[in-house]
Amino acid sequence: MNKWFKSGKPWIWLTAGSVSVSLIAVVGLVLMIGWRGLSFFWPSAIHEMSIEQADGSTRTLIGEIYESESVPTSRVSDAGTIMDGYEGEKVTRYLMKIGNREYVPLDFAWVLGPAIRADETPAGLAVIERTKDGNFYGYPVAIEQQGERVATQGNLREELFQRMERAVELNEKAMALQEGEIGAINYELTQLNLQRRGLELSGSLTEEAINDIEQRREQLQSQYLEYEKELFALRDKAGRDSLIMRDMRGEEIKVPMYQVLDVNFPNDMGFFAKLGHFFQQIGKFVSEPPREANTEGGVFPAIFGTVFMVLLMSIIVAPFGVIAAVYLHEYAGKNAVTKLIRIAVINLAGVPSIVYGVFGLGFFVYMVGGSLDQIFYPEALPNPTFGTPGVLWSAVTLAILTLPVVIVATEEGLSRIPPTLREGSLSLGATKWETIWRIVLPMASPAIMTGLILAVARAAGEVAPLMLVGVVKSAPMLPVDGNFPYFHLDRKFMHLGFHIYDVGFQSPNVEAARPLVYATSFLLITIIVGLNLTAIGVRNHLREKYRSLEH
C-alpha cells in the first residue's frame, strides 16, 4: 500500500478524476439544457385529479404535471388531515400547471402525493394556447356563433379545428395589415414630420413645401382610415365565434375564438401525433414573436436580431482582422512596434467584455453617434437617431471585441502555408502583394473562415456589452423592414443571450417562463457549439491539407 502511494499512482488517478469531472460538467450541462429545453415542446398529458384538501373536502384540478420532487415527510407535517395515516419517510410533491390564469389566483399549484384521491387522463381534455393569459385547460363543450350554439358534442372537434383555422387566418391577415400597410403609413408620417422640421431648420420651409407636406399627410391619413376600416372588419369577422369550455371548477367559460392560437388534445395523441406536434411546436418557437411580456410564444425577433447584428459585425471585423493578421505575419519586422501590436492583440482578447460595453457606450454611442446626429439628423433632435444605443453600435463594439479572434485564427492559417509556395511565387517575379493576394490569401481563406466563425460564435454568446450598447427586452420593429432605406441600423434589437437573462431574471412570472429559458438556452448552445465544431472541423481539414503539401 505504502509502496503504491509512493509510486504516485493515486495522484495520477486524481488528476484523471479532474478530467472526468470536467467532462461530466460539460457534457452534463449540454445534455441537461438539451433535455429541459426540448421536453418543453413535447406534449405532456393533462391530468384530472381529485385532491383532498386540508379541511377534508375534495376539489378537482386539471393541468400538466410540471415538476415533481420528494421531500421528507417531516417537512410537510403541517399539511393537516391529508397526511393522517401516511407512513412513508418521504412524500412526493407535484407542481401542477393549471393555467386558466384569469380564473384562479395562481396558475401553478403544489399537490402532495397522498392527497391525490383519483388521477385520470381523459381523452376529451383540451389545452388551448391563447394570445392572452396563457394556456387554458378544460373540456370543450360547444361552439357559439354570435351567441348561438352551433356545434355540440357530435361534430365538435371538426368544427372547432375548422373555425379555429379560420380565426387564426383572419388574425394573421389583420396582423399583416397592421404591420405592413399601416406600419408603412405610420413610418411615412414620421418621416414627413422630420422632413418638415428639416426644412424649417435649413430655413427653406416655404408655403409651397408646407402645402406639399400637408397634402401628402392628408393623403396618407385617408389611406390610413381605409386600412383601419379594413382592419376593424377583419377583427369583427374574427370575433364571430367563441368556444365554450368547462373548466376544473365545472363552470362553463366562453373563450373568444380570436384569442385561440391552437387547440390540442394531448391525451388523445399517439406517439407519432405527439412527434408531429413536437416539431410543430419547435417550428413555432423559432418563427413566432414572443407574447405576454416574453414569457410565451417564440423567439423569432431575438434570432433575427442576433443574426443581423452578427452579420453586421462580421462585415466590419473581417477586413480589419485579416489585414492585421497579414501585417503581423507577412510584413512585420522583428521590432518593438510588432511586439507592441502583439501585446495589443493579446490584451484586446483579455479585456473584460463589459469594458468594451462601457467604451462603446461612451465613444460610439454618445460621442460618435451624438456628433452624427448633430450633423446629419438635426431635424430629429432632441430625439437621438444614432446618439442612442442601437444595432450598429453593438456590431461595431463587438467587432473590436472579436478582432483578436479573427487575427489569431488567420495568423495561424497563414503560418501553416509552406514558405516554399511564397518563395516560388516571388522567384517567378510576382511582387509581395501579388503573392499575398493571389497565393497566400486564397489558401488561407479557410483559416479566415474559421476565425470569422469563431468570432460569430463569441459575438452570439456575448451579453454584457450589448446591455449597454443596444439590446432591449422587446423591440417591436425589426432592424430590417419594407420601409426605405430597409436597413435601420439605428434601431435597437433583441438578442438570444439577453433574452435568456431578461426572461429568466426580470420576468414577472419566472416559473412559467423557465421552460422557455431552457429552450432559448438550448437554441443558443446549439448555434454556438455548432459554429465552434464547424470551425474546429475546418481547421483540422486545413491542417491535414497543408501537412500533405509540405512534402
Binding site: M1, S7, G8, P10, I12, W13, L14, T15, A16, G17, S18, V19, S20, V21, S22, L23, I24, V26, L29, P72, S74, F320, I323, A324, V326, Y327, Y331, A332, I341, I343, A344, I346, N347, G350, P352, S353, I354, V355, V358, F359, L361, G362, L403, T431, K432, W433, E434, I436, G461, E462, V463, L468, G497, Y501, G504, R514, S521, I525, I528, L533
Partner: protein
C-alpha cells in the same frame, strides 16, 4: 523592342506602386489594432479625468454698484442672469448679471429696487437655506417681515433674428400680504433672528433681551367655511443663562440651535410648537479654538461651526446609546478666521469668506480643500453661488464680479473612493457604495472598496475551484492521457469556453443555487467523497489481475472514473437529506444562521465560485495543457530512462519546465474571472457588502457597471466613476495579460533552444 520594354517598365511601375501601396495599407491596418487598444485606454481616461480636476474660477463679468457697504445678503436666480441684494437698510434690489440685448440690459444695471422695510425699524436679519430662498428682517417692535424674490420666465421673439429668447422678470414678494408677523408677543426688539419655512409652516427663532430665546411657529390654517387660510402662531420662550450669539432653525422645523460662546444648545420643536431641550454640544475650544459662528449645510443634516483659529468644524447626529446626538466629525482649515459661510443648494460644498478677504471652497464628505485664495485683488466681502453651482458672485467694496466656477465633481476624491468616509447619519466611517436614491439632497456614496472587494472575492472563490481542477486536468491530458482519447477530450473541454456565460449564469442562479441550498451537506460530501472514491478505485484497480488491469491503462483512467464520479455524486446527494436530518436537525440553513451566526443567501459566493470556476477552467486548461504538452519529449524520456517513476518525472522535470506556462495559465484565468459579468450578475444578490463569508453574495466591478450604467446620467460623477471602474478593470486585466504573455513568450524561446 524599346517600346515593349518601356511598356513592361510602365506595367512594372504600376505593379510596384501597388505593392508599395499595399505595404503601407497593411502596415496601417496592423497598427490600427494598437490604435484601437490605445483608443480604449485614452478614451476611458478622458472620461474619468474630470473627476480629479481641481476647482477653477474664471471671471466673466465685473461691474460696480453703489452703496455696497450696506449689503446684508446676495442672491442669484437659476439661469444666473439676474442677481439680487438685500440691504441693511431694508431695500431689495435686483441687478443684471449679464448683458441681454433683447431687454436692453447690461450687466450691473439695476432692474428693480424696492424698500420692503423702513431702515429705522430693522434690528436683525435672517435667511433660510438657499433652497428655500426666503429672507426675514427682525424689527424693533417684536415683529418680522418675510420677503421672497420671484422670477417669471417668458419667451419673446428677437426682432432681429426672429428666434425665441428667454427673458426673466423679477419681483419681490412680501409674505403674509405685506404684513409683518409677530415673533415676540411682548413687542420687544428682536436682537437676533433665525427663520425657516417648509411651505405652509414658518418658524422663527429670535433673541430678545440678550438671553431670551423666542421660538415662534406659524402654521397655516384653512377656514373650511370660507376657504381662507390664516396663519396661527404658537409662541414659546426659553431663557438661557448667558448671551446668545447665534441661532439656526433647521428647514424641517424640528430643531433650533442656539450658540452661547462655545456651547450650542439644541432644542426639539414638536409639530404643535412645544419646545424641549435636547442636548448641549460643547466645542473643544482648546483644540479647535473658540466658536465664532454657526451655519447649516445643504440637506440640513450637518452643522458647520466656525472658529477663531480659522478652522471650520462639521457636526452631525450620530446614533449613540442615548439616541441620536450631535458629534464632531471633521474640520477644515480656512487659513484665517472665517466671517461668513455660504452653502450650495444641493451638494455638500461650502464657501468661506475669511477676515483677510480670502475665499475658500470646501466639500465636507470627501474632506476636500478645493480652493483657497483671493480671486479679486481686494478682499472678498460677500459671496453667493447660483442654484446650479455654475456661477459665483463676489463683492468687494462697490465691485461685483461674476465668476464661472468649474467644480463638477467635488464629492469624488481619491480618498473618498478608497478610504473610509464618515457619511451623514452613519455611526462611524465606513466603505459604502450607494449611488442613487430618490431625493434631491441625497448624498451619493462612491466608495469603490466594497465592489473591488467583491470582485476579488468572486475571483478568489472561482480560482479556488478552477485552479486545482483545471491544472490537474491539463497535466493529465497532456502527460498521461493516451493520444486517441486526448483527441476528443481536449476539444470537448475547450468547447466549454465557448459556452455563453449568460447560460452559465442562468443555470447558476435558477438551477444550481436552489440545489445547493437544499443539498448543502450533499455538496460538501461530494467534495470529500469523490477524491476518496477515486483513490479507492485506483487502489482496487491496482489489485486486479493484470489481464483486466491492462485493458484500461493510466491513459484511459479518466474514462473509467466517469461512472465512479457520477455514482459517488449521486450517492452523496442522496445522502444529503439523511445527513441533514441526523446532524443538523433537518435544517442546515437554520443551523448555519442560528448556531454559527453565518448569514446564508440563496445566491451566494459558493454558487458563483462553482459557476465562474467552470467558465475559467477551460481557459486555464487550454493554456496549461499546451505548456505541459510542449515540454520537449527528450527531457521526460531522459528522466524515465534514469529510473524515475512517471509521477516523479512529472513533478520534478515536466512541471518545473512548464511552470512559467502554468503560471501564465493561472494569470489568464484570473483575468477572465475578474472581468466576468453575467455569471456574477445572475448568480449573486449584487449587494455591495464586505465579508469573506462564502454563503453571502457580493457585487463586482463588472456587475456594478452592468446594473448602473444604463441609468446613470451622462457626464455626472456617477457616470464617470463607472467609467473609472471600467478603467480599473482594464488596467487590472492588462497587467495580468501582459505578464502572462511575457512569461509565455520567454517559455517559447526557452523550449526552442532546448
Amino acid at each position: 523592342m524599346a517600346s515593349l520594354s518601356a511598356q513592361q517598365l510602365a506595367a512594372n511601375r504600376g505593379r510596384l506602386f501597388k505593392d508599395r501601396a499595399a505595404r503601407y495599407g497593411v502596415t496601417l491596418g496592423g497598427i490600427m489594432v494598437l490604435v484601437a487598444l490605445l483608443l480604449i485606454f485614452f478614451y476611458l481616461l478622458y472620461v474619468v479625468q474630470p473627476i480629479f480636476e481641481s476647482v477653477s474660477l474664471k471671471e466673466e463679468q465685473s461691474f460696480s454698484l453703489p452703496n455696497s457697504d450696506d449689503v446684508e445678503a446676495l442672491g442669484m436666480e437659476e439661469q444666473a442672469e439676474i442677481g439680487y441684494r438685500l440691504m441693511k437698510s431694508g431695500k431689495f434690489e435686483f441687478f443684471a448679471l449679464a448683458d441681454k440685448s433683447i431687454v436692453k440690459r447690461k450687466a450691473g444695471d439695476i432692474i428693480d429696487s424696492k424698500e420692503v422695510v423702513s431702515d429705522d425699524k430693522i434690528t436683525s436679519f435672517a435667511s433660510t437655506l438657499p433652497v428655500n430662498k426666503q429672507y426675514a428682517y427682525g424689527l424693533n417692535d417684536g415683529t418680522a417681515m418675510v420677503v421672497q424674490p420671484k422670477f417669471k420666465v417668458s419667451f419673446a421673439e428677437d426682432p432681429q433674428t426672429g428666434a425665441l429668447e428667454r427673458t426673466i422678470t423679477p419681483r419681490v414678494e412680501v409674505l403674509n400680504n405685506g404684513e409683518p408677523l409677530v415673533v415676540d408677543e411682548s413687542g420687544q426688539a428682536l436682537e437676533k433672528l433665525a427663520y425657516e419655512s417648509d411651505g405652509d409652516t414658518m418658524m422663527f427663532a429670535a433673541v430678545q433681551g440678550g438671553n431670551n430665546l423666542l421660538i415662534t411657529k406659524y402654521a397655516a390654517e384653512e377656514n373650511f367655511m370660507t376657504g381662507e387660510t390664516t396663519l396661527k402662531p404658537v409662541f414659546h420662550k426659553v431663557t438661557l443663562n448667558g448671551t446668545i450669539d447665534d441661532l439656526i432653525v433647521t428647514p424641517d422645523l424640528r430643531q433650533v440651535m442656539a450658540r452661547r460662546g462655545n456651547r450650542i444648545h439644541v432644542f426639539d420643536v414638536g409639530i404643535s410648537g412645544q419646545v424641549t431641550e435636547r442636548e448641549l454640544m460643547l466645542v473643544n475650544a482648546r483644540e479647535q479654538g473658540n466658536a465664532t459662528g454657526l451655519y447649516l449645510l445643504a440637506g440640513a443634516s450637518s452643522i458647520l461651526v466656525t472658529h477663531d483659529t480659522g478652522l471650520v468644524t462639521q457636526w452631525f447626529q450620530v446614533a449613540t446609546d442615548e439616541g441620536r446626538q450631535y458629534q464632531y466629525i471633521r474640520s477644515f482649515d480656512a487659513g484665517s478666521p472665517v466671517k461668513d459661510i455660504e452653502v450650495e443648494y444641493y451638494r455638500r460644498t461650502f464657501y468661506t469668506v475669511s477676515e483677510n478677504g480670502q475665499l475658500g471652497i470646501f466639500y465636507t464628505t470627501s474632506e476636500a480643500d478645493l480652493y483657497r485664495g483671493n480671486p479679486l485683488e481686494t478682499g472678498v466681502e460677500h459671496v453667493m453661488v447660483d442654484p446650479r453651482a455654475n456661477y459665483l458672485i463676489m463683492q468687494s467694496g462697490n465691485r461685483f464680479s461674476v465668476f464661472d466656477i468649474k467644480n463638477e465633481h467635488p464629492e469624488v476624491t481619491w480618498s473618498a473612493m478608497w478610504q473610509e468616509v464618515w457619511y451623514e447619519g452613519y455611526p462611524e466611517p465606513d466603505y459604502t457604495w450607494q449611488s442613487t436614491s430618490g431625493s434631491d439632497d441625497f448624498e451619493s456614496k462612491y466608495s469603490l472598496v466594497p465592489i473591488a472587494f467583491g470582485t476579488i472575492k468572486a475571483a478568489a472563490y472561482a480560482m479556488l475551484f478552477a485552479v486545482p481542477i483545471g491544472l490537474a486536468a491539463a497535466v493529465y491530458t497532456a502527460y498521461f492521457m493516451s493520444p486517441s482519447v486526448r483527441k476528443y477530450v481536449k476539444p470537448t473541454v475547450e468547447i466549454m469556453e465557448a459556452l455563453p456565460t449568460v447560460i452559465l449564469g442562468f443555470l447558476a442562479g435558477l438551477w444550481l443555487a436552489p440545489i445547493i441550498e437544499r443539498y448543502l451537506p450533499g455538496l460538501i460530501a461530494v467534495l470529500l467523497l469523490v477524491p476518496a472514491a477515486i483513490i479507492l478505485t485506483a487502489f482496487l484497480w491496482s489489485r486486479l489481475p493484470s489481464h483486466i488491469r491492462n485493458t484500461v491503462t493510466d491513459g484511459r483512467a479518466a474514462l473509467l472514473l466517469i461512472p465512479v464520479v457520477l455514482l459517488v455524486g449521486w450517492f452523496s446527494f442522496g445522502l444529503s437529506p439523511w445527513v441533514e436530518e441526523v446532524l443538523f436537525d433537518g435544517n442546515v440553513r437554520g443551523y448555519l444562521t442560528n448556531e454559527l451566526g453565518i448569514t446564508f443567501d440563496q445566491r451566494n459566493s459558493l454558487v458563483v465560485g462553482i459557476a465562474m470556476g467552470f467558465a475559467v477552467i477551460p481557459t486555464i486548461f487550454s493554456i496549461a495543457e499546451d505548456a505541459v504538452f510542449s515540454v520537449p519529449k527528450h527531457l521526460s524520456n531522459g528522466s524515465l530512462a534514469l529510473g524515475a517513476t512517471p509521477w516523479q518525472t512529472l513533478t520534478k522535470v515536466v512541471l518545473l519546465t512548464a511552470s512559467p506556462g502554468i503560471f501564465s495559465a493561472v494569470m489568464m484565468g484570473l483575468g477572465r474571472a475578474v472581468g466576468e459579468t453575467m455569471i456574477v450578475l445572475m448568480a449573486t444578490g449584487n449587494t455591495p457588502i464586505m465579508d469573506w463569508n462564502i454563503f453571502e453574495g457580493m457585487r463586482t466591478l463588472s456587475a456594478n457597471i452592468a446594473v448602473e450604467m444604463p441609468e446613470s446620467e451622462v457626464g455626472s460623477s456617477h457616470y464617470r466613476i463607472l467609467f473609472l471602474a471600467a478603467f480599473v478593470l482594464f488596467i487590472f486585466t492588462f497587467f495580468f495579460n501582459t505578464i502572462a504573455e511575457f512569461v509565455r513568450q520567454r517559455l517559447r524561446d526557452k523550449y526552442s533552444s532546448m
